[in-house]
């Protein structure tokens, strides 16, 4: 029922609106236009009437002046030919009287009076002025009429006419304006809204129904309309003069240069017609209203009511139970109309059912679409005229704006300013060139909170309310983009690490081989010294060789430190004493131009490090500072302080806690920004060839990293360089300090006094497994010289076989790990199986081998990394034998 009542309402409203729109308003407009046209025609008519009156007046003026000039001419001619004799007074009076009040002829500058007998000054004055003008004028003007003046003769305002006969002969008369024909016929008899009057070319009133205006010699020369009119022979128009709107028509009379003017008061003239028009408009309006209601009534009765009745009928039919088939069958033959009604009912029901289904489908589709838009995980926005008109929930979530706020905001403001212009341009181009939807893979927007979000966006076109609009579909790719960037960073880091790893492997391999070689060279030098076969003069060369071997050893050590392959035991070290010692030693080697300042103010200086690592760091940094200063005057300062780090990640440190900050700064030339990132790379150097290896800072970095610290460099060209090293401090309790100290002292003692090898009756038996035959023989020779029984094997298989066959087990086995055949590790395992208690000393150039890292796990008593000194070797051996 509800839906049906809704259906009836619009129909009535539509009918009503259409009637107003299609009939009532056009009729009203028609009335207004008709009235306007009518008024315009009336004004036109009034102008025409005025023009007609002016023309009549002008004709009368012409006749009047023709007469006046003819009289003047005739009398002047007569007197010129026969002076004073042939004209009778009677004739003169008859002819002159209607036109002139006063008339005379001037000949040879002497006035000949004609009528009246007395010559009067005012007229003569005017006439003489005219005569002067005529004589002086270069034009061929034959007659002139003066402006109005007060005539003492006629006691009224008058004008004078002069007719020029020849240079010395002219006729002059004072025009009889009161007897003027026009005055009699038109001016005095015109009533109502129209006025006729005459003005001269200066705007002086000559004739006017109101004699006061003429008597006072009023002038309209300044009025705007007259300024226009005086330049035209004919003039017509609507003018505003003295507070009244008037229709004015003027015609110039060429004989007199007077203007015949007809004016009609516009409002007064139109008022009767306006009443008539109002009455007619009222009738018309009544007609319109009547027509409107009649048509509406007719429409209601002939269209709306039948439809409403039909609707009611349909409702009833719908509510009717279906006709039972038996009744239908019974009635089918007798009552044909029932079939028709049933058919009609079914058709209508089907039709309505179809319409309702369609409506439901449409609603369902609309709902589906809206649900889809609201729940789709993509932001959807529709914009028109630079403003959003729709935004789904995802768009609200991404932008942070509610839909209401988005609608108020110009859509371009959402775009990041750097991309705004470009995007506007692209979208405009797309719309102009009718391109298909465009994709913007990465578009930054600014959210409500000011955050920048990146969107993958597609912009297409749709039609909203019959006008083009844009649809935007966007996905937030901010996190994805961030992840990709992180991934790229990681890949970059990984590549760097791979490169470093490869370099480390290469360096380790090379170091291993070098260590073997250097070991051999070192042992040979020691042998040469020990055996005394070399003359004393050769000591110099041996020293040089040893120095070179040490340099080579340091280089290998540096390589291994960089790759962190070198492992040795850490101990507690007092950094200040190390730093002080390095500076004391190193200061001696520095040029006199360089001053070294120290300020070691750290409250704690205990650091867990390998022996010489601190020394290495300080020495490298001071060396670099020295090279930076060069031969100039400068200062190297070394400072320490204790710092507490709360945010270790910012300084690339592993943990919070107390750190010692070692600051080494110089006043040298500084490091250019472009190479700052490379200074810690291995083999990168700016020094001359032979002066630097390029491993100094990389080695320092390696040491610092291995100690759990970090290093930073701050430098600028011509401003010097400061290197800050952060190293973790060890918190030492009093007891532990004592124990550590004793350990330190113990170490020192051990270093100072080497244990002497135990001496027994039976020579200790040493088994050497070394594939490098030179090394093996050198060790063997060295041991034999020290009173040991040494046997060498260059493969593990031979050594194992030997051990299996002998009766007396050796006291110590010295073996290399990098052995051929089954290899060092398998060899050690066999030996451990055969003789679990047999002490084994491992010597190796592979410092990262697992056995070297955890020797006790594999039953190894001691490890020696190549190259080692004979003294070191023997000390280790003796210590083991002593146990």
């Amino acid at each position: 029922m509800k839906s049906k009542s809704q259906n009836t309402l619009p129909l009535a409203t539509i009918v009503k609106k259409h009637l107003v729109k299609s009939i009532f308003i056009p009729l009203l407009l028609f009335a207004v236009i008709i009235n306007t046209v009518l008024l315009t025609l009336l004004v036109e008519e009034a102008i025409k009437d005025n023009q007609f009156l002016a023309q009549i007046g002008c004709v009368a003026l012409d006749k009047y002046f023709d007469t006046a000039f003819r009289i003047a001419k005739n009398f002047a001619s007569e007197y010129e030919n026969v002076p004073g004799k042939s004209v009778t007074i009677f004739r003169k009076i008859l002819e002159i009287d209607p036109v002139f009040n006063n008339f005379f002829i001037v000949q040879d500058n002497k006035a000949i009076e004609i009528f009246p007998t007395l010559n009067y000054g005012a007229i003569r004055y005017a006439a003489n002025k005219i005569a002067e003008d005529l004589i002086n004028s270069s034009s061929k003007i034959k007659q002139i009429i003066t402006p109005p003046f007060y005539s003492a003769y006629s006691n009224e305002v008058s004008v004078a006419l002069a007719y020029f006969v020849s240079k010395d002969s002219y006729a002059i008369g004072e025009l009889n304006l009161t007897k003027f024909l026009i005055d009699k016929i038109f001016l005095s008899k015109l009533e109502g809204t129209t006025t006729m009057f005459i003005v001269d070319r200066y705007g002086n009133f000559v004739i006017h129904p109101n004699p006061k205006l003429v008597a006072e010699r009023r002038n309209i020369g300044d009025e705007n309309w007259f300024i226009k009119a005086r330049h035209n022979k004919h003039f017509s128009g609507i003018v505003h003069s003295h507070g009244h709107w008037q229709i004015v028509s003027t015609i110039l009379n060429p004989n007199s240069s007077w203007f015949f003017v007809v004016t009609t008061n516009l409002i007064a003239a139109l008022t009767p017609f306006a009443y008539w028009i109002l009455i007619m408009t009222g009738i018309f309006l009544v007609f319109c209203v009547w027509t409107f209601y009649t048509i509406r009534k007719e429409m209601s009765s002939s269209v709306i009511s039948p439809i409403e009745q039909l609707q009611t009928l349909l409702q009833r039919i719908e509510e009717l139970p279906e006709v039972p088939s038996e009744v239908y069958t019974q009635l089918a033959t007798q009552q044909g109309p029932i079939e028709e009604i049933e058919s009609f009912r079914k058709t209508f029901l089907n039709t309505f059912g179809w319409i309702l289904n369609q409506e439901d489908s449409l609603k369902e589709s609309s709902l589906r679409f809206q649900t889809l838009l609201h729940n789709i995980p993509v932001a959807v926005l529709i914009f028109q005229d630079n403003h959003f008109i729709y935004a789904n929930k995802v768009a609200e979530q991404i932008s942070g704006f509610k839909q209401e706020a988005l609608v108020k905001t110009p859509c371009w403001e959402l775009i990041h300013p750097d991309h705004r212009e470009e995007l506007m341009h692209m979208i405009q181009m797309r719309q102009q060139e009718l391109r298909p939807a465009m994709q913007y893979p990465e578009l930054p927007i600014i959210t409500k909170s000011g955050q920048i979000k990146w969107l993958q966006t597609t912009v297409g076109s749709i039609v909203v309310n019959g006008r083009p609009a844009g649809i935007v579909m966007a996905t937030d790719i901010t996190e994805q983009r961030k992840a990709e960037q992180e991934k790229k960073e990681m890949e970059k880091k990984f590549q760097y690490l791979q490169r470093m790893e490869a370099l480390g492997i290469l360096a380790a391999g090379v170091a291993h081989e070098f260590n073997n070689i250097l070991h051999g060279i070192g042992l040979n030098i020691e042998m040469l010294r020990f055996t005394g076969i070399c003359p004393t003069e050769a000591d110099k060369y041996l020293n040089t060789m040893e120095h070179l071997k040490k340099r080579a050893s340091m280089l290998v050590e540096a390589l291994l430190t960089f790759t962190r392959k070198k492992q040795s035991s850490k101990r507690l070290i007092h950094a200040h004493s190390e730093i002080q010692r390095v500076i004391t030693i190193y200061s001696e080697t520095l040029p006199k131009t360089i001053e070294v300042k120290t300020n070691l103010k750290a409250t704690s200086d205990t650091i867990e490090a390998e022996e010489g690592q601190i020394e290495h760091i300080i020495m490298n940094l001071i060396t670099n500072a020295r090279d930076a200063i060069g031969n100039e005057f400068g200062t190297i300062s070394v400072e320490t302080e204790t710092v507490i780090i709360d945010e270790p990640e910012k300084l690339k440190l592993p943990q919070k806690g107390k750190y010692m900050k070692i600051k080494v700064s110089d006043t040298g030339e500084g490091i250019p920004e472009e190479i700052m990132s490379k200074i810690f790379d291995p083999f990168f150097t700016t020094k001359e060839i032979g002066k630097g290896t390029g491993l100094g800072l990389s080695m320092v970095l390696g040491i610092v990293k291995s100690l759990g610290g970090s290093i930073f460099c701050d430098s600028a060209v011509q401003s010097g360089t400061t290197v800050n090293v952060l190293l973790p401090l060890v918190e030492i309790t009093k007891q532990s300090t004592t124990s550590q100290k004793s350990e330190l002292e113990k170490t020192m003692i051990t270093q100072d006094a080497l244990p002497t090898p135990p001496r027994s009756l039976e020579k200790p038996r040493i088994l050497i497994i070394e594939d490098e035959e030179i090394l093996a023989s050198l060790i063997q020779e060295c041991l034999q010289k020290e009173g040991y029984e040494a046997s060498t094997f260059n493969t593990p298989e031979k050594a194992i076989e030997h051990l299996g066959s002998i009766k007396r087990t050796p006291d110590v086995v010295i073996m290399d790990l990098g052995l051929p055949g089954i290899g060092g590790e398998a060899c050690l395992e066999h030996i451990r199986k055969m003789y679990p208690t047999l002490p084994v000393i491992v010597i190796s150039g592979y410092l990262d081998h697992k056995i070297l890292k955890h020797p006790e796990k594999y039953g190894v008593k001691a490890c020696l990394s190549k190259p080692f000194s004979t003294q070191q070797f023997l000390q280790t051996l003796n210590e083991i034998l002593a146990k």
Binding site: Y120, A122, Y125, Y150, A152, K212, A215, R217, N219, D222
Partner: protein, 361 residues
Amino acid sequence: MLCFLCFSCSSSVTKVGFVATLSGKYSDLGVEARNGVMLAVKEINCSGKTNTKKLKVVYKNAEADPHVAIAKLRELKASGINIVIGPTLSTLAVPMVKWANENGVILLSPTVSTSQLTGKKDNFFRIIPDTSTKAKKLGKYVKNSFHVSKICAFLDIGNEEYTLDFLNSFLSVFDLKPDELECLIKYNFEHSTVASFTGLHLIMNHAPDLVVIATPAIDAAIITQLVRNFNPNAIICANNWAKTEEFILNVGPSMNRIFFEDIDPCVVSEAISEFKKKYFKSYGQLPSFAAMQGYDSVKVLYRALKISQENNEPLSKALTEIRDFPGILSPISIDEYGDCKRPTYICTIENGQFIPLSRQK
């Protein structure tokens, strides 16, 4: 149109009245003065300067009747107008001034020169010296230059305030009064002309050697012609009322020994020439001194209004502060009594033209 626009954008408008005789026999002065006023007002309102004071003048016809003139003043007063330019005739001036004093209306006359209003603290101001000054100057000249024994005079009693004033002042130099003259002819110009005066020729029986004429130009010309017929060497002294082109055109060939008193220097200056052109262009006629005086009266009033506004003082006081205002004919000053101080001249006629006495050959 431009004028209309200028007027529209004006910030303030001062309404001024104009009362003078605009119709009838004495209307020439009034009409010309009115035309001069209209020209000046047009110039001021169309000066193109915005935010300056504009003038609006309401013109009234006094019809040469004191009652009408006062009625017109009353009308103007009722419409809120307290400043009036006029009158042009001395006859109207005396009763008008009386009414103006009583009603607080300021009168500024372009042409009234009667001595009756001289030296009085009232609401009457003028831009023309009084008749007495001019007439005495003329009398002194004649007395000093010629031997005079018999004096006759013509007097138009239609404007007696002026003509009698002129005659009395002139004769005072000779220690005479009008009734002590050889002969005195009085007539009323409004009702008749001197030409129609039947006893005119009787004057010649007295054979005067000096004839004083206090009449309009036409009558003065006719009287001059008549006197010359009997005594070609008689001296003619006339008031400046008669000093017009009309007199020269009517007087004929006997134009020697005729003297006038006037404020016109009888020399065509650039200002006079310019004004004549403007006037002719608007009205088709050449202006008389009345037109120039009408024009000057508006300019003087406008200057006084400005002084009044600037110094925040009454207009009556501002008018008395006018000094050496550049009038068309000569500089104008107004004294504390509202009387005009400006040069006066004695003119004569030579070769059909008025010339200053100094130029006479």
